[in-house]
Amino acid sequence: MNNVLSIYRKELRSYFNSPVAYIVITVFLLIAGWFFATNFFLIGQATVRTALSVIPLIFIFFVPAITMRSIAEEKKSGTIELLVTMPTRDMDIILGKFFAGLTLLIVAILFTQAYVITASIFGNLDGGPTFGAYLGLILLGATYLAIGIFASATTENQIIAFIIGFGIIFVFFMLDKVLLFIPSPLVSVFEYLSTDYHFNSLARGVIDTRDLIYYVSLTAFMLILAGRSLGSRKW
């Protein structure tokens, strides 16, 4: 546990010592802000609904960009050899990196609270769906981070890590968008496996344990895969 904390702190420091964290947060807020502002000023709606429903789309390319570096870079520079020859478990490394990425993501998401406050001053904000959407965003982000870290653990090339991460996330995102082409017995399976389906369910303001279990288990599964991939030098 101590090791997870050390790695977590070091990763956060790396994010905030380099421009990574600032660029990530700025670009994220620019895109999300644009969707909020068009609604707010052009259409005259005091709502965060559009902005929050666009964020999962941003996440598709945004999260693998955060994680692509995490392990691929360590492999490339050789620091992974230092890390794994210290008395740490492979899973400590993965978890430390995961929570650091999650912290960065939550910071970015929390900044969008500015839109929520603005909207609530000028209009009637629907509390339940907004809370549900935020919870959904964090869970969705965590799942994508786990996928991104797994992708990063499979290669020493950051760009390949990004593309693999993006690819896997895209598939999970698209699963409930292709239901028309799926034989009917499989529809519910595809729906259940889709990350966006569960997000929409939470964003309606209904906190369903099925959605929570889905996100937590997919995240855990992906993190374990990442740990396995890191340990593949021993195969």
Partner: protein, 309 residues
């Protein structure tokens, strides 16, 4: 302390380490010598539990590298090849990170970091980003990292590469000092390094051990002919014949001859010191002996003989 038995490691098709066995006792400083690609780094990676062997056994501190991995890693300090570091941290942040991962208790951390900064001469760069430092300082940070938890066993893969001559001497002295109580394995392809720091050398070539012993043993076992070079000022008739007439001289080669100045290289049977006889001969012949020098087989010769086939 370290016990390696019939260790073999394959990478896909290539055999990196082929059936090697050796032992290292507590308090020894052992130099792994070998040309690039001989298998030094691979052996070290197995000993530090970075990767498992294909077959054979490696015991460190009484534990097998596969079963006791976590315990072994606690007791080893490791400086990997190329000395990888986190370029976006500064020295203090980095050493603290390593100290935490090494499980040094909170109240000990500062003392250990301060000690390492002092021992490795890092005072002037503690707040500098590692990425911006010179290679010499980076190497010292790498060494500080390896020793911060005061490990029983130090495994250093080319610890002095990229350092300037003064730093090399400092680091060697540091290693020697540590080696008084600790077990040290260092790899290098720089021979004087082994002579300066180690009490034993293991020479590896193409994945196999070709020699293992103390420096004196290696030199004694592998030296063939000794050479004597001399410069004589005398009239140029019959010098080389008279030199050849001395007992135990195998060959006489005249290197150069300018007027009355002649230089010769004599190859002599091993274990024979003929300098006195040559001196006596010169006196008897009233040659003026300007230079007389005996070359004993160096570790370098041993190394070349063993690995240059």
């Amino acid at each position: 302390m370290i016990n390696v038995h019939k260790l073999t490691k394959h990478y896909d098709q290539t055999v990196a380490v082929d059936n090697i066995s050796f032992e290292v006792a507590k308090g020894e400083i052992v130099g792994f010598l070998g040309p690039n690609g001989a298998g030094k780094t691979t052996t070290m990676k197995i000993l530090t539990c970075y990767m498992p062997p294909t077959s054979g056994k490696a015991n460190v501190a009484g534990m097998d590298v596969l079963e006791g991995s976590l315990q072994i890693r606690k007791r080893i300090g490791y400086l990997p090849e190329q000395n990888p570091l986190y370029n976006d941290l500064d020295v203090l942040e980095y050493l603290r990170f390593v100290a935490e991962l090494r499980g040094i208790s909170k109240d000990q951390q500062n003392a250990r970091i301060r000690k390492m900064i002092e021992v490795c001469g890092l005072k002037q760069v503690i707040n500098k980003n590692i990425g911006e430092m010179s290679k010499g300082f980076k190497q010292r940070v790498g060494l500080a990292q390896a020793m911060i938890h005061d490990p029983d066993i130090l495994i250093l893969d080319e610890p002095t590469s990229g350092l300037d001559p003064n730093q090399i001497v400092e680091i060697r002295n540091l290693i020697k000092e540590i080696g008084r109580e600790k077990t040290v394995i260092l790899s290098t392809h720089i021979l004087p390094e082994v002579q300066a720091t180690c009490n034993r050398a293991i020479i590896i070539d193409k994945g196999s051990i070709v020699a293992d012993g103390s420096l004196q043993e290696l030199q004694a076992a592998f030296h063939g002919l000794e050479r004597i070079s001399l410069e004589i000022k005398a009239a140029p008739n019959g010098i080389s014949e008279k030199l050849r007439a001395i007992d135990h001289v195998k060959t006489v080669k005249e290197e150069s001859s300018k007027g009355d100045l002649h230089t010769f290289i004599l190859e002599v049977e091993k274990g024979q010191d003929l300098r006195e006889k040559i001196f006596d001969l010169s006196v008897a012949e009233s040659w003026k002996l300007l230079e007389l020098h005996r070359e004993v087989t160096t570790l370098e010769d041993v190394f070349r003989q063993l690995t240059h086939r």
